[in-house]
């Protein structure tokens, strides 16, 4: 058998949302937008990113708790399939039905739950308030046909392995603290002795001291049971503690993957750098660097073209996917002759967006067409208007000035050596 436990290619999940109370228009939230993922046996992979970037959705997708929009996902794939994926060969429908989690029938997916489990983010809502702890943990066992006596004795074992005494069997969730609840959730996930567990922000709702307890517990369990884990968190320092490899996610896409040490020593993607710099370190002497991000995450309904990070990237340049509508406001600002004297005599009438990569400025009067390029270049440098980097050419004819932009291209994950992948045109 191979060493690869999970392989996903082109995973996508779009959520359909209604726009208004009465409107019929539907929009897609691109929660996960083309993710390739490989997880090896016995490995802990960390997944970090801001909230809303699609981490939870990806986790749920891998377990097929939600229906995918597109993509293929294999659990424990054979060498043959791996080879085919590697070479980009087509995989036949029959094979898909048999091996791809996304194409399997309902019963096969249910069978897979024995091997793949999840621990949810919020320990307060992930336990049914009307169930006793023992029944919560026994639930997966019962649903796979264990009788109650065996199930309860296994529950006792499980409780012990997550550091809780048998007296917890007959308690209700509301009698437990957050840390204890999260332990119960972990025990439930481990009940069927799975090989693979998704941990969705298992410590985000917990205090530092409780977080330390849970992290240590996970560490022990992992060694003991030889678990493979996908550890999701928005807190990169927590991920560093436990993960072998880290994937950084932004707006539904993976932007960087590397070994933990490597990513901290040599973060390549500007987003990873920003994320690292934003983390407050509990040490008054290390000052937070100020390359944190301006603005907020763009809406996943309409993510920016090209590199989706370009709206906030400090290094964005020509190729990063600027579109015409991002330039309009800036052009209007700088074409003002009171702002830039070189443009005296030019009176701007309107700006028309022809396509994503082309726009036309119409002037009422155009006396100094030659200075436009110079002004744009000057403003680009002086006021750091990065959108102007997207300009490929400027043509003046009559009273019109046509501006052409570079074709937006999406950066692909690229190996830069050392098993370090990054999706950025800089590398």
């Amino acid at each position: 058998m191979g060493n690869t436990l999970i392989v996903g290619r082109g995973l996508k999940k779009f959520f359909e949302i209604k726009t208004g109370l009465f409107s019929r228009k539907r929009l897609n939230v691109k929660a996960v937008d083309g993710v390739d993922i490989t997880i090896n046996k016995g490995e802990v992979v960390g997944l970090v990113g801001e909230s809303g970037c699609g981490k939870t959705t990806l986790g749920r997708l891998i377990l097929r708790l939600i229906e995918p929009t597109d993509g293929e996902l294999y659990y424990n794939p054979s060498e043959e399939i791996l080879e085919k994926i590697k070479n980009g060969e087509k995989i036949s429908q029959d094979e898909l039905k048999k091996y791809s989690i996304f194409h399997m029938g309902k019963n096969d997916v249910r069978e897979l739950r024995r091997h793949m489990q999840i621990v949810f983010q919020d320990p307060y809502s992930s336990l049914d308030p009307r169930y006793l702890i023992k029944d919560i943990i026994a639930e997966p066992l019962r649903s796979f046909g264990w009788d109650s006596k065996d199930a309860y004795s296994r529950v006792e074992e499980l409780l012990k392995s997550v550091g809780l005494g048998p007296e917890f069997m007959n308690k209700f969730p509301h009698e437990l603290s957050g840390g204890q609840r999260q332990r119960v959730a972990i025990a439930r996930a481990l009940a069927l002795k799975p090989e693979f567990v998704v941990l969705d922000e298992p410590t985000s709702a917990l205090d530092v001291s409780v977080q330390a307890q849970v992290l240590n517990l996970l560490d022990d369990l992992r060694k003991e049971l030889d678990l493979t884990m996908l550890f999701i968190s928005h807190h990169i320092l927590v991920v560093r503690h436990i993960a072998d490899r880290i994937m950084v996610m932004y707006l539904g896409k993976i932007v960087e993957i590397a070994e933990t040490k490597e990513i901290f020593k040599n973060p390549l993607h500007p987003y990873t750098q920003a994320l690292l710099s934003a983390v407050p370190v509990p040490d008054p002497k290390t000052k937070r660097m100020k390359i944190h991000l301006e603005g907020e995450v763009p809406s996943p309904v309409n993510p920016p073209k090209g590199c989706s990070f370009h709206t906030r990237c400090k290094f964005a340049f020509e190729k990063c996917g600027w579109t015409a509508n991002e330039l309009v406001e800036y052009l209007r600002l700088v074409m003002d002759p009171t702002r830039n004297e070189e443009l005296k005599g030019n009176i701007l009438d309107e700006i028309e967006i022809v396509s994503d990569t082309e726009l036309i400025m119409r002037f009422k009067e155009l006396e100094n067409p030659g200075n436009i390029r110079g002004v744009i270049d000057k403003e680009k440098i002086n006021n750091n208007i990065r959108a102007f980097y997207g300009i490929m050419g400027i043509e003046a004819s009559g009273k019109e000035v046509k501006i052409k932009l570079y074709e937006p291209k999406v950066p692909e994950l690229k190996n830069v050596g050392n098993n370090h992948f990054v999706a950025c045109f800089l590398h």
Partner: protein
């Protein structure tokens, strides 16, 4: 084994105790609970053995006394130690004590039947329409809309006119009208429960849909159902009484019913025989009051925010 059983019941009993504690903390709901218990005990005793309550007959009709049809005042008015006719009699010579006790049983039984059947239909439809959504949900919801827009008196009267005026027809009419409330309440509740992580967690544990619906979603929708249930028990009794009072009684029956007794008494009360309406009227009112007080109390006691 027995030990284990009792262990797992302990926390449940504990939980129940907490609910009762919160319920009894407010005097209003404590009074409501006592009233409701008294009524139910009366109904139960009457069912088991009416003689315990000092009733003279055990037939299910009012027994007129054509020898002395005029209403007689309660016996203790003339002789304070005479309780042979505690509530007096009403036309035509009906012993009001007998009548009211029996009426309480019949009214409660009728109301329970209607509300329980309506609730079961509504709960099942509501929870399925919330869980599966889609066209099924759409149909159920439009149906409830239609039923909500019909005034219940009109529908019941219409049914009675076409199908005959019997208690069975009445109850069917009321059930048809009453399930949509439960469907709505359950659906609303179930929609939010469905999104709870523990439902997803159950799915991730390989639990089948039917079990998710009946063991996870349904039990968690029950709190507002209980509240609705207690309000409705009162409402149905009142509705039945209203129908009798306006004269829409099942034809030529002498069924003991509080509204019916009130409607007979009404004419005599005008001419001064106050007891003919006061006793059946109060019996009705206090029951409705008790049920409503209890419902309000339950709403608080079952509120998860108060249980931390």
């Amino acid at each position: 084994m027995f030990d284990k059983m009792s262990d797992s019941w302990k926390p449940r009993i504990e939980n129940f105790k907490i609910t009762m504690k919160i319920l009894l903390k407010s005097p209003a709901s404590a009074i409501g609970l006592i009233i409701v218990l008294v009524y139910f005990i009366i109904a139960l005793l009457d069912q088991v053995d009416p003689y315990i309550l000092g009733i003279t007959t055990n037939v299910n009709t009012l027994i007129p006394n054509y020898v002395n049809t005029a209403p007689q005042p309660p016996s203790w008015l003339t002789n304070p130690w005479d309780f042979s006719l505690p509530f007096g009699t009403t036309y035509p010579g009906i012993n009001l004590y007998d009548g009211i006790i029996k009426a309480i049983r019949i009214d409660i039984a009728f109301s329970l039947f209607v509300v329980v059947s309506g609730a079961i239909i509504g709960i099942v439809l509501g929870v399925f329409s919330a869980f599966y959504g889609g066209w099924f949900d759409e149909i159920i919801m439009r149906l409830t809309d239609i039923f909500f827009s019909i005034p219940y008196l009109v529908l019941v009267i219409a049914l009675g006119v076409f199908l005959g005026r019997s208690l069975e027809i009445l109850s069917i009419g009321l059930i048809i009208l009453w399930w949509p409330i439960y469907a709505r309440v359950v659906r609303g509740q179930a929609l939010s429960i469905k999104e709870q992580t523990y439902v997803e967690a159950a799915r991730a544990s390989g639990v089948k849909n039917s079990r998710i619906i009946f063991r996870h979603i349904l039990p968690n929708t029950m709190a507002p159902i209980f509240v609705q249930f207690s309000f409705d028990l009162a409402t149905i009794v009142l509705a039945l009484a209203t129908l009798y009072f306006i004269g829409f009684a099942p034809s030529n029956s002498w069924l003991p019913e509080l509204g019916f007794l009130s409607s007979i008494g009404y004419e005599y009360a005008i001419v001064g025989d106050w007891w003919t309406i006061v006793f059946p009227g109060f019996a009705l009112m206090i029951f409705a009051l008790g049920m409503n007080l209890l419902g309000d109390g339950l709403r608080d006691a079952l509120d998860p925010r108060l249980r931390r």
